[in-house]
Protein backbone atom coordinates (compact mmCIF):
# COMPACT_ATOMS: atom_id res chain seq x y z
CA UNK A 1 0.00 0.00 0.00
CA UNK A 2 1.57 3.27 -1.12
CA UNK A 3 2.17 5.60 1.73
CA UNK A 4 2.34 9.37 2.14
CA UNK A 5 5.54 10.42 3.89
CA UNK A 6 5.77 13.94 5.33
CA UNK A 7 9.15 15.54 6.13
CA UNK A 8 9.37 18.92 7.89
CA UNK A 9 13.03 19.30 8.93
CA UNK A 10 15.91 20.78 6.92
CA UNK A 11 18.02 18.01 5.33
CA UNK A 12 21.12 20.12 5.99
CA UNK A 13 20.58 19.96 9.74
CA UNK A 14 18.74 16.70 10.45
CA UNK A 15 18.80 13.20 9.01
CA UNK A 16 15.01 12.79 8.76
CA UNK A 17 14.93 13.18 4.96
CA UNK A 18 17.65 10.53 4.67
CA UNK A 19 15.68 8.20 6.93
CA UNK A 20 12.54 8.79 4.91
CA UNK A 21 14.29 8.21 1.57
CA UNK A 22 15.83 4.97 2.79
CA UNK A 23 12.62 3.56 4.26
CA UNK A 24 10.00 4.69 1.75
CA UNK A 25 9.10 2.19 -0.96
CA UNK A 26 8.56 2.50 -4.70
CA UNK A 27 5.39 4.32 -5.67
CA UNK A 28 5.05 6.11 -2.37
CA UNK A 29 4.66 9.87 -2.06
CA UNK A 30 7.06 12.15 -0.18
CA UNK A 31 5.84 15.64 0.73
CA UNK A 32 8.34 18.28 1.90
CA UNK A 33 6.87 20.99 4.15
CA UNK A 34 8.14 23.73 6.52
CA UNK A 35 11.98 23.73 6.86
CA UNK A 36 12.25 20.64 4.63
CA UNK A 37 11.24 22.54 1.48
CA UNK A 38 14.80 23.83 0.95
CA UNK A 39 15.81 20.22 0.22
CA UNK A 40 13.96 20.55 -3.11
CA UNK A 41 16.27 23.32 -4.38
CA UNK A 42 18.60 22.77 -7.35
CA UNK A 43 22.34 22.49 -6.83
CA UNK A 44 22.40 21.46 -3.16
CA UNK A 45 24.40 18.67 -1.54
CA UNK A 46 21.20 16.59 -1.25
CA UNK A 47 20.04 17.14 -4.87
CA UNK A 48 21.46 13.82 -6.12
CA UNK A 49 19.61 11.82 -3.45
CA UNK A 50 16.31 13.52 -4.27
CA UNK A 51 16.84 13.14 -8.01
CA UNK A 52 17.30 9.41 -7.42
CA UNK A 53 14.09 9.30 -5.39
CA UNK A 54 12.11 11.09 -8.10
CA UNK A 55 12.76 8.16 -10.45
CA UNK A 56 10.42 5.83 -8.59
CA UNK A 57 8.64 7.96 -5.97
CA UNK A 58 6.25 10.87 -6.17
CA UNK A 59 8.07 13.84 -4.56
CA UNK A 60 6.09 17.00 -3.75
CA UNK A 61 6.81 20.29 -2.01
CA UNK A 62 4.40 22.71 -0.31
CA UNK A 63 4.55 25.89 -2.43
CA UNK A 64 3.59 28.40 0.27
CA UNK A 65 6.41 27.19 2.53
CA UNK A 66 8.80 27.57 -0.41
CA UNK A 67 7.62 31.17 -1.05
CA UNK A 68 7.88 31.97 2.67
CA UNK A 69 11.60 31.15 2.48
CA UNK A 70 12.16 33.32 -0.60
CA UNK A 71 12.04 30.65 -3.32
CA UNK A 72 9.77 29.81 -6.25
CA UNK A 73 8.85 26.74 -8.29
CA UNK A 74 11.50 27.72 -10.87
CA UNK A 75 14.27 27.03 -8.35
CA UNK A 76 13.36 23.44 -7.46
CA UNK A 77 14.55 20.20 -9.04
CA UNK A 78 12.78 19.00 -12.18
CA UNK A 79 10.31 16.25 -11.34
CA UNK A 80 9.26 17.64 -7.96
CA UNK A 81 5.64 18.78 -7.95
CA UNK A 82 4.52 21.91 -6.11
CA UNK A 83 1.26 21.58 -4.19
CA UNK A 84 -0.87 24.16 -2.35
CA UNK A 85 -2.80 23.55 0.89
CA UNK A 86 -5.74 22.04 -1.06
CA UNK A 87 -3.28 19.68 -2.76
CA UNK A 88 -1.86 18.76 0.66
CA UNK A 89 -5.36 17.84 1.83
CA UNK A 90 -5.93 15.80 -1.35
CA UNK A 91 -2.70 13.86 -0.74
CA UNK A 92 -3.76 13.03 2.82
CA UNK A 93 -7.23 12.00 1.61
CA UNK A 94 -5.82 9.81 -1.19
CA UNK A 95 -3.52 7.84 1.11
CA UNK A 96 -4.88 5.54 3.78
CA UNK A 97 -1.53 5.62 5.54
CA UNK A 98 0.49 8.74 6.43
CA UNK A 99 3.88 8.77 8.14
CA UNK A 100 5.56 11.90 9.52
CA UNK A 101 9.35 11.98 9.83
CA UNK A 102 10.12 14.37 12.68
Amino acid sequence: MAKLHIVNKSPFERSSLDSCLSKSTEGSTILLIEDAVVGALKGTVVADKLTAAIANKNVCVLGSDLNTRGFTEAEILDGIKTVDYAGFVDLVAEHSNVQSWL
Binding site: S10, T44, T68
Partner: protein, 136 residues
Amino acid sequence: MSENIKKFMFVNTKAPYGTVYALESLEVVLISAAFDQDVSLAFCDDGVFQITDNQKTDGSGMKNFSAAYKALGDYDINKIYIEKESLEERGLTLDNLMKLTYEDEDDDWAEKDSIHLVTRAELADLMDKQDVTISS
Protein backbone atom coordinates in the same frame (compact mmCIF):
# COMPACT_ATOMS: atom_id res chain seq x y z
CA MET B 1 32.48 54.15 28.41
CA SER B 2 34.70 53.29 25.45
CA GLU B 3 36.94 51.01 27.53
CA ASN B 4 33.86 48.90 28.25
CA ILE B 5 33.06 48.17 24.62
CA LYS B 6 33.12 44.47 23.93
CA LYS B 7 33.06 42.54 20.69
CA PHE B 8 29.75 40.68 20.38
CA MET B 9 29.05 38.22 17.61
CA PHE B 10 25.60 36.75 17.01
CA VAL B 11 25.98 33.46 15.17
CA ASN B 12 22.86 32.43 13.27
CA THR B 13 22.73 28.77 12.27
CA LYS B 14 19.00 27.96 12.00
CA ALA B 15 16.50 28.30 9.16
CA PRO B 16 13.73 30.87 9.75
CA TYR B 17 10.02 30.04 10.32
CA GLY B 18 10.33 26.33 11.17
CA THR B 19 11.56 27.23 14.65
CA VAL B 20 11.57 30.52 16.56
CA TYR B 21 15.39 30.80 16.90
CA ALA B 22 15.88 33.23 13.99
CA LEU B 23 13.23 35.71 15.13
CA GLU B 24 14.34 35.57 18.78
CA SER B 25 17.98 36.16 17.80
CA LEU B 26 17.05 39.13 15.62
CA GLU B 27 15.19 40.69 18.55
CA VAL B 28 18.21 40.30 20.83
CA VAL B 29 20.45 41.81 18.14
CA LEU B 30 18.22 44.89 17.87
CA ILE B 31 18.20 45.25 21.67
CA SER B 32 22.00 44.94 21.81
CA ALA B 33 22.31 47.85 19.37
CA ALA B 34 21.05 50.14 22.14
CA PHE B 35 24.10 49.38 24.32
CA ASP B 36 26.82 50.82 22.02
CA GLN B 37 28.77 47.59 21.71
CA ASP B 38 30.84 46.32 18.78
CA VAL B 39 28.24 44.02 17.24
CA SER B 40 28.65 41.69 14.28
CA LEU B 41 26.40 38.98 12.82
CA ALA B 42 27.39 35.71 11.23
CA PHE B 43 25.13 33.55 9.08
CA CYS B 44 26.25 29.97 8.54
CA ASP B 45 24.73 26.51 8.08
CA ASP B 46 20.92 26.87 7.66
CA GLY B 47 21.22 30.41 9.07
CA VAL B 48 21.89 31.64 5.52
CA PHE B 49 18.19 31.02 4.75
CA GLN B 50 17.26 33.79 7.22
CA ILE B 51 18.30 36.50 4.78
CA THR B 52 17.09 35.15 1.43
CA ASP B 53 15.49 37.77 -0.80
CA ASN B 54 11.80 37.75 -1.81
CA GLN B 55 10.39 36.00 1.27
CA LYS B 56 6.61 35.92 0.76
CA THR B 57 4.60 34.68 3.70
CA ASP B 58 1.00 35.42 2.59
CA GLY B 59 0.49 31.77 1.66
CA SER B 60 1.74 30.29 4.93
CA GLY B 61 0.39 33.01 7.22
CA MET B 62 3.73 33.31 9.06
CA LYS B 63 4.93 36.70 10.30
CA ASN B 64 7.42 37.99 7.70
CA PHE B 65 10.27 39.51 9.71
CA SER B 66 12.83 39.57 6.88
CA ALA B 67 12.53 43.33 6.32
CA ALA B 68 13.91 43.94 9.83
CA TYR B 69 17.35 42.71 8.68
CA LYS B 70 17.43 45.67 6.27
CA ALA B 71 17.13 48.02 9.26
CA LEU B 72 20.33 46.70 10.90
CA GLY B 73 22.42 49.32 9.07
CA ASP B 74 20.39 52.11 10.72
CA TYR B 75 21.31 50.61 14.10
CA ASP B 76 25.04 50.80 13.23
CA ILE B 77 25.20 47.04 12.78
CA ASN B 78 27.14 46.77 9.55
CA LYS B 79 29.45 43.79 9.95
CA ILE B 80 27.50 40.88 8.55
CA TYR B 81 29.47 37.77 7.65
CA ILE B 82 28.09 35.06 5.37
CA GLU B 83 29.84 31.70 5.21
CA LYS B 84 30.68 30.82 1.60
CA GLU B 85 30.61 27.03 2.06
CA SER B 86 27.16 27.15 3.66
CA LEU B 87 25.78 28.97 0.60
CA GLU B 88 27.41 26.51 -1.80
CA GLU B 89 26.12 23.43 0.03
CA ARG B 90 22.60 24.83 -0.34
CA GLY B 91 22.88 25.74 -4.04
CA LEU B 92 22.86 29.47 -3.21
CA THR B 93 24.95 32.53 -4.08
CA LEU B 94 24.96 36.08 -2.70
CA ASP B 95 22.40 36.89 -5.44
CA ASN B 96 19.81 34.84 -3.49
CA LEU B 97 20.26 37.10 -0.44
CA MET B 98 18.84 40.51 0.46
CA LYS B 99 21.07 43.54 -0.13
CA LEU B 100 22.02 44.75 3.36
CA THR B 101 23.67 48.16 3.42
CA TYR B 102 24.51 51.05 5.75
CA GLU B 103 25.35 54.74 5.36
CA ASP B 104 28.94 55.50 6.38
CA GLU B 105 28.95 58.70 8.45
CA ASP B 106 32.75 58.99 8.07
CA ASP B 107 32.44 58.96 4.28
CA ASP B 108 29.73 61.56 3.56
CA TRP B 109 27.00 58.98 4.31
CA ALA B 110 27.92 56.87 1.30
CA GLU B 111 25.84 53.70 1.07
CA LYS B 112 28.04 50.66 1.63
CA ASP B 113 27.58 46.92 1.66
CA SER B 114 27.20 45.36 5.13
CA ILE B 115 27.58 41.83 3.81
CA HIS B 116 31.00 40.18 3.74
CA LEU B 117 31.42 36.75 2.19
CA VAL B 118 33.91 34.75 4.27
CA THR B 119 35.24 31.22 4.17
CA ARG B 120 34.63 28.73 6.97
CA ALA B 121 38.24 29.20 8.13
CA GLU B 122 37.91 33.00 8.11
CA LEU B 123 34.69 32.78 10.12
CA ALA B 124 36.45 30.57 12.66
CA ASP B 125 39.13 33.27 13.06
CA LEU B 126 36.49 35.99 13.46
CA MET B 127 34.70 33.94 16.12
CA ASP B 128 38.00 33.51 17.92
CA LYS B 129 38.43 37.28 18.24
CA GLN B 130 35.10 37.90 20.01
CA ASP B 131 34.61 38.72 23.69
CA VAL B 132 31.05 37.35 23.62
CA THR B 133 29.53 34.90 21.14
CA ILE B 134 25.80 34.29 21.18
CA SER B 135 24.59 31.52 18.92
CA SER B 136 21.19 30.36 17.84
